[in-house]
Symmetry: C2
Amino acid sequence: MAANSRLTIAVHILAWLALAHRRGTELLTSDQVAASVNTNPVIIRRSLGDLRRAGLVVVRHGAGAGWRLARVPEEILLVDVYDAVEQDPLFGMHHTEPNLACPVGKGIRPALGEVYGRAELALRTEFGSTSIADVLRETLLTS
Amino acid sequence: MAANSRLTIAVHILAWLALAHRRGTELLTSDQVAASVNTNPVIIRRSLGDLRRAGLVVVRHGAGAGWRLARVPEEILLVDVYDAVEQDPLFGMHHTEPNLACPVGKGIRPALGEVYGRAELALRTEFGSTSIADVLRETLLTS
DNA sequence: TTAAATGTAATAGATGCTGTTACAGCAGGA
DNA sequence: TCCTGCTGTAACAGCATCTATTACATTTAA
């Protein structure tokens, strides 16, 4: 399948909020973020909603509304972002229940559950070693 | 997105071929494998085609046709299976090019490419530590 | 009160996955 | 040589998800 871009969009948003804050801009609107990501503001607001529910960003309503990071970018890890925007497991099980009369059909799902659990843990551990500040630093190297 | 089940189906097939061989059955047809996975034989043949192109299984044509492992199950690692059936990256980039006039838009893709590369490496390393023989052993514990 | 932005529903188009039917191609055995 | 059984693959349907877009009620600082 073509993988979705939710993690990419969310990290882009957070990096842009971090840079704007460093430059002295306290709040960004979804329109301003959308101008950097180059997509529709509703896409941005949906992603920001995920990030707000995860406690990574704070919204201000009414006139002069906008968004800012809920904490310093050094303390927002990619695993936090991953958890905020991805809920489905990486690998799906059988669509239909396998044949339980076959020993493989009977035992394969718990066995694969263990394997997939270890794989997702390895991924989350790796994502736990990188912060939004790290991503922003590497992003600005290119310019 | 709901993750696809290709890796699950492929590992199930290989574990079943391994067990059948241990029990003295040299070849299994796609119908026989489909009876264990509980799906359509064409689904099984498509997956077996991926595994054949990766050199993990061998097919025999004509009357008395069927499939067997290309090597012992201890030497078929899950990373081999992953490579055989998954080609898309785990995390997609932006659908549309970000705004290159923005420093984040300009540098975010190479930065994320590095991050995603490390994440996929962590996943592949974990999958390199488990073989079809390991999965089969854990599968049979349940029965 | 007003203006500006959020939150979210509804919808459309594109794409991918699973499942199914159909059929040509291949090769061992009678 | 012909038959038979299975592979290989195309074509298609149904379903789900993702991105993008429009629309509009809600919120709140000024």
